[in-house]
Symmetry: C2
Subunit: 202 residues, 2 copies
Amino acid sequence: MKKQGLLLIISGPSGSGKGTIVEQLKAKDDFSLSISATTRSPREYEEDGVHYFFRTREEFERMIENQELLEWAEFCGNCYGTPRTYVTDQMQKGQNVILEIEVQGALQVKKLYPDGVLIFLVPPNLEELGRRLTKRGTEDKETINRRIHRALEEMEFVPQYDYVVVNDTIEQATEDILTIVRAESMKCSRNKEIKKVFKGEI
Amino acid sequence: MKKQGLLLIISGPSGSGKGTIVEQLKAKDDFSLSISATTRSPREYEEDGVHYFFRTREEFERMIENQELLEWAEFCGNCYGTPRTYVTDQMQKGQNVILEIEVQGALQVKKLYPDGVLIFLVPPNLEELGRRLTKRGTEDKETINRRIHRALEEMEFVPQYDYVVVNDTIEQATEDILTIVRAESMKCSRNKEIKKVFKGEI
């Protein structure tokens, strides 16, 4: 019996380390990473079709019109969205899929897929978040302050998430998420055929 | 900040190995085991106040009348129940509590404590259940057949549980339950003060 893949939706403020953790998850276990479309400019190391599909605003708006996006949102002046087909194809094949998306998008997806697992990733505390954002060196002070303010706003949405993971260290937080995935796979709602399996009927 | 203890409610048919697994959990981690009251006769190795509180039917009925039981049920001609005070005291101290109870009782407790975590333990398959019950050598053939029939009936209630754990080996099933406990401790509903913790307010 082929079980449907798990849809893992990971959000967290800039500086929560979600990018690194998602890379670790891909390396450690059997996850496909959904690639988002965005109108924001690529960072130096980012490649089109690998980190994001980089699109113009016009192209992005066409994707919305054609209902090619599972969710989309505007954040700090840029649009981000999740191409629908890739996600649903993978899940039907029994493959777990990770969406790394921000709060508004995550809640849109949860409405469409109540079985999706919403995880909110937080840095251990406010000071550490400030340190991480400063260390990154890609944004000016004003942007950093805006991101900290935004982080506090986003945390108001934590109660609508399923799990909260504190990123003290990348290793621990990655292990925590794998723990959640293992527990979720034992949910009765994901094992509806258990009696038939027990009786040897399937 | 002292978090409330987790209430873990474990059920499973005779021969699912729940007794052994509960012993392993007590040995491995920070769990208190609730001691049930019962009207059934002690097995050879069982001690009053350690494995069960062995009570006469008259004594048991007095406990029901005095509302001293969190739940109770009759099963194969015997009554089983959970003394209330011990459980609530431990949880308030931040201690995790395990209840090893049968289906009817488990569902009663879940109604009273929706935050309780219901785990259904199953042997890997029907043949293995038969083998385990026969090997135990404490029941005659008729009782074994009744228990197998009862196991199949009980599995109808799995959809009302939160998790299902397959007991292939004691070690794996114990680890699975610890995984569930770790994941549950990251539930947003159990971390309502996370924003205050993040801001350093508590």
